[in-house]
């Protein structure tokens, strides 16, 4: 019996060496471990053996060895097949035929969203307003007297029905004060119109953003704080601001707000005419006549207002040199503004 098993062992080893496919291994398994296989035959032959115990043990050992080797061979084969598959896989190249096709927002939309977000975070509501307004909203309610040069035909587009295209977002101040009363925190971006010829720095149609904050005891100190905070957020760095006296009929005192030049950082360069400062937005304490016209108790409330040139802000932020690009409809410029 022992000799028989040894011979079978040798035969198995020989045949396993040449079994190169899953089918061959399966055939080998059937030949040795199948119902009519070599091991089964040995078991049958056990009847004629004297020391059944020893022989049985030898057969079992042989069977286990065959099983182990077969499954090892099968696993090796699978492994080799997987490796071959990986080796022969097609190599992809993401650098080829890449199409950059995105939609785009108008830069003014992006700038507006950014500023709105900053102000919303500080409790300011965002308001929308008409573009066609009347003389009262645009001038009268803003303490701009009848014969003020701002009302001249050369600045304002007048309509045949007596209305006009708003020259400033301040035209919404009165309506918003009447809508909410005090206290009030609001910003209102909008399109404005000035009857002037266009060049790289001038457009007859542009965007501003007006802001107002009215409450008990609103002070100049608060105004500077809010402007500095807002501008630092918008430009994503610590902005230095300075106020200079400036005259606008709807504020008193009125200021021109300058920020330290973003290009040279304040040391002086051609962009800031070597002054280190850039004029950014007019602002001031809302004139009592304007508050009164908006139905607000001037004994109880004070407030500040500011006008931010959104178009100018967008030009500064994105480095747009010609203001006319904004209304050109030219996708070669405008399609660049894919997202914030």
């Amino acid at each position: 019996m022992k000799e028989k098993i040894e011979a079978l062992k040798l035969r198995f080893e020989e045949e396993l060496k040449t079994a190169a496919t899953e089918e061959a291994i399966e055939a080998l398994r059937i030949a040795f471990l199948g119902k009519k296989g070599a091991v089964a035959e040995l078991m049958t032959g056990l009847r004629d053996v004297a020391d059944k115990r020893e022989a049985g043990q030898l057969i079992n050992e042989f069977k286990t060895a065959v099983e182990t080797e077969l499954s090892a061979a099968a696993a090796a084969l699978k492994e080799a097949a997987l490796k071959a598959e990986i080796r022969s896989a097609k190599k992809l190249n993401p650098s080829l035929l890449a199409k950059r096709e995105f939609g785009s927002y108008h830069p003014i939309t992006l700038a507006t969203r950014e500023v709105e977000e900053v102000f919303a975070g500080m409790g300011f509501t965002v308001e929308d307003y008409a573009e066609v307004v009347d003389d009262y909203e645009c001038f009268e309610a803003l303490n701009i007297p009848k014969h003020h040069p701002a009302r001249d035909m050369q600045d304002t587009y007048y309509l045949e029905n007596g209305q006009l295209l708003k020259t400033q977002t301040s035209a919404a101040q009165n309506a918003i004060m009447k809508k909410y009363g005090a206290p009030l925190r609001a910003i209102f971006p909008g399109r404005c119109f000035r009857n002037e010829s266009t060049d790289a720095c001038h457009e007859n149609t542009f965007f501003q953003m007006e802001g107002m904050m009215i409450d008990e005891n609103i002070s100049i100190s608060n105004l500077i704080y809010f402007m500095k905070t807002m501008l630092s957020e918008v430009f994503k760095r610590d902005i230095k601001v300075r106020l200079r006296p400036g005259f606008f009929p709807f504020v008193e005192p009125g200021f021109e707000l300058d920020i330290n030049c973003l290009i040279c950082g304040g040391v002086g360069c051609p962009s800031c005419k070597n002054s280190g400062w850039l004029e950014l937005c007019p602002c001031g304490m809302i004139h009592p006549n304007v508050l009164k016209a908006g139905g607000i108790d001037t004994e109880k409330y004070t407030g500040f207002a500011f006008g931010l040139g959104l178009t100018r802000l967008a030009m500064m932020k994105y480095g747009v040199k010609d203001i006319r690009d904004f209304n050109s409809g030219n996708l070669k410029s405008l399609s660049q503004f894919e997202s914030l």
Binding site: E101, F102, G103, S104, H106, G123, T125, V126, E127, D128, A130, E131, V132, D134, H147, P149, D152, Y158, L159, E160, N161, Q163, L165, P183, R191, N195, N204, T205, M213, N217, I218, S219, I220, S221, N222, I224, Y225, R242, R244, P245, G246, F247, E252, P253, G254, E256, K273, E279, M285, H287, P288, T302, N327, G329, N330, L331, K332, L334, S335, E338
Partner: protein
């Protein structure tokens, strides 16, 4: 406006102070300084010298060979000036000196050595007169450095006129000096004035102000025997540095006083103007001003006349006939205050702005009239000893401004500023600025000085500005407000507008553009679009832009055309305002709209149209959670295709339009490409409530899909939303979904495959039990022109 620090220095002692820094402080406290110019720096080593001899150059007609006496010796100089003369005193630039930045060295000119240079005023930078050498007529010892006599060294700064519109007091050096005196906390020196009361016994000038509504004050003074023709050099330098070319002594004098005090003055030749009326004329006429131009005068323009003969346009410019001539030696001096609005309107109508009119527009202080005359007379007497005043100072003060008195207390200032400025500081600042201050502890009563009271300072808030600007905004401690914060919600329309943009940009890769609120008639014409006559802008820059736009689409179509080189396919959209005529109250019916245009070269018109349709579905579905029906209509605009124009209807409300372009418009843009567009009215859209989202428990049992194919006689007439409704009504609740699976358009036949999905919440359905339902659907749809095709 240009301002001279030397001139200001007449009234404020700047010793020990950095003038350039002071000018920067002026920006922060008063008005923005645009530029600073340092004068005289590049010219030095120039002395007074005498031309001792003149010989002509042997080879040049222009050049002369001079011997120049520099006070110590005679030096050889080659000179090209035409006015050289023996005995003439000139400004002589010595070797080692510098003129206008050019160093002076020994030079050989046309073969002769020259040891220095005789200079013109232009070369010295004190005039633009380059016609000849600067002849020095003042009695100055030879060899004297001219800078010790003439104020060539100066710092000039420029202030934008616009930043002074509300400050009539800052239109002259004296008012500016008051600001500097306040900023530096140094005293403001008084003006040197002539005593006009000395002439009270003399006869009055005949002054008759007829138009009393347009005049505050008219004063006049007559002077005779003026001999001086040329202004003192230092006066000429100041005028030149401040942007005014010296003319002659009398003209310079009125300019000088205007630039010092801000009060325009006019000098009439007394031989031609002996009395004054101030009036308007009912009839139009032509008047020649002293610049030689004929001007049309209308009934609103205020005129100065003498014996009813017009001699000047009040506050703007004098007449040619009465102007100062070379031989004028007697004057009628006008110093007046005219109504600023009237002067501005006159200048606008004439198209003529002058230094005088600019100042009058700002509403001058009538008190200045007398000061200006007294100042002018003082300078005149100082420079021309034999001048005789021959009239009383005649004063027609027809309208007075009211004195403005303002009460406030420190608490008011604290509340406005948010910081603590002491009562002493408040008192000091206001006093220095010329306010009359009565103080009782922290309570103030201030009287606004006349030069600030014409319109500038009227209320308490104006006082705040005076206090804070001098205190310095840089010195403010800043702080947040302590007011309560409230939640901030965006208006529905605004947040929806933002989401529409997001959908078009992110899902449809469209590009947002901006344009104008008016129609562009020229661009429309290129596309064959007739610009509708809408509300008109009466002062449009071109008639092509006079009508406001009714629709967003035409401009977008033009943009599509202009961008054809950008890509094969793209979409554009704009959110903007349109005006649909007038409302009943006469105001514009203004509507914000979203317009979107799709363009594609390699897509069929059908596919692109469906893409535009999908965008509408997504906008309405995503934002409002609602379905859309598209109602076929006639074209509403000439750029819409009459066969393919639709109204976008949501919940029975038309909120916009979806269309294909009119064939000729299409061809004008691109004959081969596909174009489709839609427009949505934002107010109509936002008026619709957002439908609540409801969760539906999914059935645990499988759905059964049954595809049925129908022949359609006219596919364009099939309304699929009706198909869905009809099928649901016929089949009942068990029909959960209806989808169009396929369209087959063959020759002469159109077939439509529809998938009907059935589901039950209680059990698994079998195909057999659905036969009655599908039969009912088939029957119902045949009434809609869909004939079941036996498979």
């Amino acid at each position: 406006m240009f301002l001279s620090m030397n001139w200001i220095g007449d009234y404020v002692d700047f010793s020990g102070l950095d003038k350039k820094q002071l000018i920067k402080n002026f920006t922060l406290s008063t008005a923005e300084v645009e530029d600073i110019y340092v004068k005289g720096e590049d010219t030095y080593g120039v002395i007074v010298a005498e031309i001792a001899s003149v010989e002509t150059h042997p080879n040049s007609k222009k050049l002369h060979l001079l011997k120049v006496n520099n006070g110590k010796e005679l030096v050889d100089v080659v000179c090209g000036a035409p006015n050289v003369r023996v005995g003439m005193h000139v400004a002589f630039a010595t070797e080692g000196g510098c003129v206008g930045g050019h160093p002076i060295n020994t030079a050989t000119v046309a073969g002769f050595v020259s040891h220095g240079m005789c200079c013109s005023k232009a070369e010295l930078g004190i005039s633009d007169d380059n016609s000849g050498l600067f002849e020095i007529t003042d009695d100055i010892p030879l060899g004297t450095d001219i800078k010790t006599v003439y104020d060539m060294d100066d710092i000039i700064f420029e202030v934008d006129n616009k930043s002074l519109t509300n400050r009539p007091d800052l239109w002259g050096h004296y008012g500016i000096a008051r600001e500097f005196a306040t900023i530096t906390k140094r005293p403001l020196k008084p003006l040197t004035l002539a005593d006009l009361t000395k002439y009270d016994a003399l006869p009055e000038v005949g002054v008759n102000v007829k138009a009393t509504d347009l005049v505050y004050r008219y004063t006049a003074l007559k002077v005779q025997n003026i001999q001086r023709k040329e202004s003192p050099v230092n006066m000429q330098i100041r005028l030149f540095y401040c942007g005014s070319r010296p003319i002659n002594f009398l003209a310079d004098l009125t300019n000088y006083v205007m630039m010092e005090l801000g009060q325009p003055m006019h000098a009439f030749d007394n031989r031609k103007v002996d009395k004054i009326e101030v009036q308007t004329f009912p009839e139009e006429f032509t008047f020649k001003t002293l610049d030689g131009t004929d001007r049309k005068i209308d009934d609103k323009m205020l005129m100065i006349t003498s014996g009813n003969v017009p001699v000047a346009i009040a506050g703007v410019m004098g007449g040619d006939a009465s102007k100062i001539e070379d031989d004028t030696d007697s004057l009628l001096l006008e110093s007046a205050t005219f109504d600023g609005v009237s002067v501005r309107k006159t200048t606008t109508r004439l198209g003529l702005r002058t230094d005088a009119s600019m100042r009058y527009e700002k509403m001058l202080d009538p008190e200045l009239c007398k000061t200006a005359t007294a100042r002018l007379l003082a300078i005149l007497l100082q420079n021309d000893k034999d001048v005789k005043v021959v009239s009383k100072f005649t004063d027609a003060y027809v309208r007075h401004y009211e004195t403005v008195v303002i009460d406030f207390d420190k608490k008011f200032v604290d509340r406005y500023t948010g910081i603590d400025i002491t009562s002493d500081a408040i008192e000091d600042t206001l006093t220095r600025l010329g306010f009359g201050v009565e103080r009782n502890g922290d309570a103030f009563r201030v009287t606004v000085p006349s030069f600030r009271a014409t319109k500038d300072v009227t209320i308490k808030a104006d006082i705040i500005e005076e206090i804070t600007r001098i205190y310095g905004y840089d010195n403010f401690e800043i702080s947040t407000s302590l007011g309560a914060l409230h939640p901030v919600l965006k208006e529905k329309e605004q947040s929806e507008e933002g989401r529409m943009k997001d959908i078009l940009v992110k899902s449809y890769r469209m590009h947002e553009v901006h344009s104008y609120i008016w129609s562009d008639t020229a661009k429309n014409r290129e596309l064959g679009i007739e610009t509708p006559e809408n509300v008109r802008i009466i002062n449009a820059q071109t008639p092509e832009h006079q009508y406001l736009r009714v629709s967003m689409i035409p401009t977008l179509l033009s943009f599509v055309k202009e961008n054809k080189s950008y890509a094969d396919a793209y979409g554009l959209f704009e959110v903007g305002h349109t005006v649909e005529g007038l409302k009943e109250n006469g105001y514009c019916l203004e509507k914000k709209k979203l317009g979107a245009v799709f363009f594609a070269r390699r897509e069929s018109a059908d596919v692109l149209f469906m893409k535009a349709r999908d965008a509408v579905l997504e906008i309405v579905g995503d934002i409002l959670h609602k379905d859309v029906t598209f109602e076929r209509t006639d074209a509403a605009f000439d750029f819409e295709h009459p066969a393919n124009a639709f109204s976008i209807v949501v919940d029975g409300n038309a909120i916009g339009r979806l269309s294909m372009p009119y064939p000729t418009v299409q061809n004008a843009i691109d004959k081969k490409a596909a174009i489709a567009f839609f427009e949505i009215s934002l107010p109509a859209f936002s008026a619709l409530a957002v439908s609540p989202k409801k969760y539906k428990e999914p059935s645990k049992f499988p759905a059964i899909d049954i595809d049925l194919t129908f022949n359609a006689l006219d596919l364009s007439a099939v309304r699929f939303d009706d198909v869905v409704k009809t099928a649901k009504a016929a089949a009942g609740e068990v029909l959960s979904d209806v989808k169009m699976q396929d369209i087959y358009e063959g020759e002469g036949a159109t077939a439509l495959t529809v998938r009907f999905s059935f589901i039950s919440a209680e059990r698994t359905l079998s195909k057999q039990e659905l036969t009655p339902a599908t039969d009912a659907i088939i029957a119902a749809l045949s009434a809609q022109g869909l004939v079941f095709k036996v498979n």
